[in-house]
Each structure stands twice: as structure tokens, then as C-alpha cells.
Symmetry: C2
Subunit: 215 residues, 2 copies
């Protein structure tokens, strides 16, 4: 009867929670616990969590699944990939974005800008995520979009590490505003350049604020 399986519903559910930042770095996702909560057996939960792990959104430990804690090196390695992919993806999205999505992006940017005064970290997180998901959703190359999405954990880790620094906060918001302007004008080249600058700014900020160098 079910139009989709338990496994897929649970997968969608937890992917959404991860994207919205509802899973903390210390949370442990245990199949039996989730299964009991949902009134199903371990297996569909286990399979959903393993799928998230195979896609990089979680890592399995001997004691439950948790968010990956990326090392300094891994974060820098992924920055290298993002520098290569995201400018091109953003440029392609600039040609494809529709008005409704642009409006949503404008709202996200103004939400984010408002947190410069309010210091509302949660809103800033949500607005950044909304902006990113909006333009990514408009990338016509599905494979490219999915590859970029898989680095969600890195984006969130960087955000977490840099968010509380006022300078970084300001730099990011200026970057978002510049990007929004490029997207709005459907200026492919400007968008490409600005996305590269945006990623590189994030990288430099991260390097400055990074918590030493772990494994």
C-alpha cells in the first residue's frame, strides 16, 4: 500500500534534519531507538542511515551514526573541489533561475543581513542554507548538482567554525549580496567570478579561524 518504503521515508526525514542543522555534532543516531520511536523494525532505519552514510552525510561508528567530523585537511581538500565546481555551477544556474526562486534568494539574503545586528545565529544558518539550496536547485546539470550537494557536511562545518566571528559574518553577507546581484542580472560571468571569490573567502576565513589541525 505504501507509495514508498519506510526506508525512503526515514531517509528523506533524516536528510532534511541534517540539512536544517537539527542534528548536533554530538548526537548519536541509533537504529533501534529510531525504530522504536517510529514503530518499525531496525532494518529500514538501519538501511536509511547507512544510505546517508554512503553518501557522506553521516559516518557510522561502533556506537551509532553521527555527523562526520571532518579534519582540517579534509575540509581544505573539499574547498579545492568546491573552487573547481561551484563557480561553473552557479554560472549555469544564473541562466536558469526563475523569478520565484530569485525572490526566495533575495529574502534569504535580507534575512542573513539582518543577523548582522541581531546576532541571530540560527536564522543566519537557515538563511545561508536556503540561499545555497535555491541556486543549487537551479543547476541544470543534475550530476553536478548532486556532487556539490554531497559536500553539505563541509559547508556546515565551515559555517559553524566561522559564523561567530563578526568579520567573517560580514564578509559572507557581502558575498551573498554580490552573488544575488549577479544571479538577478543573469550575468553569467560575474556570477562565476563572484562564486569563486565567495568560496575562496570562506576558505581564507576558515584557515584563519580554524581550530588548529586535527587528524
Amino acid at each position: 500500500m505504501a507509495r514508498t518504503s519506510h526506508r525512503n521515508r526515514i531517509y528523506d526525514d533524516y536528510l532534511g534534519r541534517i540539512q536544517r542543522g537539527e542534528i548536533g555534532p554530538d548526537d548519536r543516531l541509533i537504529d533501534t531507538a529510531i525504530a522504536a520511536e517510529l514503530g518499525v523494525s531496525r532494518m529500514p532505519v538501519r538501511e536509511a542511515l547507512m544510505k546517508l552514510a554512503h553518501e557522506g552525510y553521516l559516518v557510522g561508528t561502533t556506537r551509532g551514526f553521527k555527523l562526520p567530523d571532518l579534519s582540517h585537511r579534509e575540509i581544505l581538500d573539499i574547498f579545492e573541489i568546491r573552487r573547481l565546481l561551484e563557480p561553473r555551477a552557479a554560472a549555469a544556474a544564473a541562466e536558469a533561475l526563475d523569478a520565484a526562486t530569485l525572490d526566495a534568494m533575495a529574502r534569504a539574503v535580507s534575512d542573513a543581513a539582518s543577523t548582522l545586528d541581531s546576532g541571530d545565529i540560527t536564522l543566519f544558518f537557515r538563511a545561508s542554507e536556503a540561499f545555497r539550496n535555491a541556486w543549487l536547485g537551479a543547476v541544470p546539470n543534475a550530476a553536478l548538482r548532486e556532487t556539490i550537494q554531497r559536500y553539505l557536511s563541509q559547508v556546515q562545518a565551515v559555517r559553524l567554525a566561522t559564523m561567530r566571528d563578526p568579520d567573517a559574518h560580514r564578509v559572507i553577507i557581502e558575498g551573498l549580496q554580490a552573488l544575488l546581484d549577479g544571479f538577478r542580472r543573469r550575468d553569467v560571468l560575474a556570477t562565476q567570478d563572484r562564486m569563486l571569490r565567495f568560496v575562496m573567502a570562506a576558505e581564507m576565513t576558515y584557515q584563519k579561524l580554524a581550530p588548529g589541525n586535527d587528524a
Copy 2:
């Protein structure tokens, strides 16, 4: 006792088979059949195959797992990603390659070149795969390496579609020779350029020989 789980052993086993081209486009991988063959239950086999599917090496159908049959569009989309990533990755590998790996690559290229006369398609396939795995193994950025490896299915599909054309065959071997020269001389910029040319040559050849346009 087992140093690793059944699941992981089966995963490694079948990933190897896929890489070596031992799984045909019409083969169906059925968990119960493999389980019976190995003397284990369905579950570890099922989980191994699902992991391969989550990583893009297989797709699940209602009747077993099989190789993904990428559409024309998907193949072109992945070419766009490869154009962005592989030149940079090859350039980084050029700095890191050791002598033994270079020797292995030289052997792969000469094996591949020998098939111009012999027409030994299997050897050409194996040699191309060996060359690719060799330089990819030397890419220092692990995340980049893994992302590129995930497009194995596309590489194989393109190889399959272009391999039998004599012109394409020759173009590929010339590209391999040019790449080998770049790698050998540890010439980062030349390697980067040549890898871009190599990928673009494959793309153009594929477009010329491509089997129409399916879904």
C-alpha cells in the same frame, strides 16, 4: 574473528569486478543468488550491493542490481564535471607520482598501443583502466580522488561506445602517450592541459559515435 565484515568483503569483491569490467550490462546481481554461492545470508550481500548502488556503481531495479545505463544527457553532464576536475587532479598527481607507478603507467600505455594492431579489446580496456587507476591513486586530495572515481560507470560507458571505432582508438592512445609524457616529466602545466584535451577528445568522440539520444 573476521578482521572485516562479510559486507565489506563482498563490497570490495564486487567493486573490483565492476572496475575490471567483469560485470556485463545485462547481468543481474541478485542478493539471494550471491549469498547462496558464498554461503552467507542475504543481508550482508544486500547491504554490499546497496552500498555500491548508493555510490553510483550500480542501480537497483525491482529485479536485482545492474550496471547503470546512463542516458546521453547524463554522460554529457558527467563530462562537464570531469572537464572541471580531472585536469587539476592530474596536475596534482604529476607532482606526486613515484617511479614504480610511472613504470606501471608506461606498461599500460604500451599495452594499449599494442592493441592498435592486435585489436585486443579486452587488453585495451584493462590497460586504460590500469592507467587511470594509477594516476588517480597518486592524487593527494583524497576527496577529489574519490569524487572522480565515482564516475567510473560513465568512463566505462564511454569506452564501450567508442572503443571499436579505429579513429577513436587511435586518438585515445595518442592522448595516453601525451599524458604519460607529461606525468613522466612531472610537468604540471602540460599534464593539466593534456588531461583537459584528453577528456574533451573523449567527449567529442562520444558525441560523434553516440547511440542517438535515449531517455
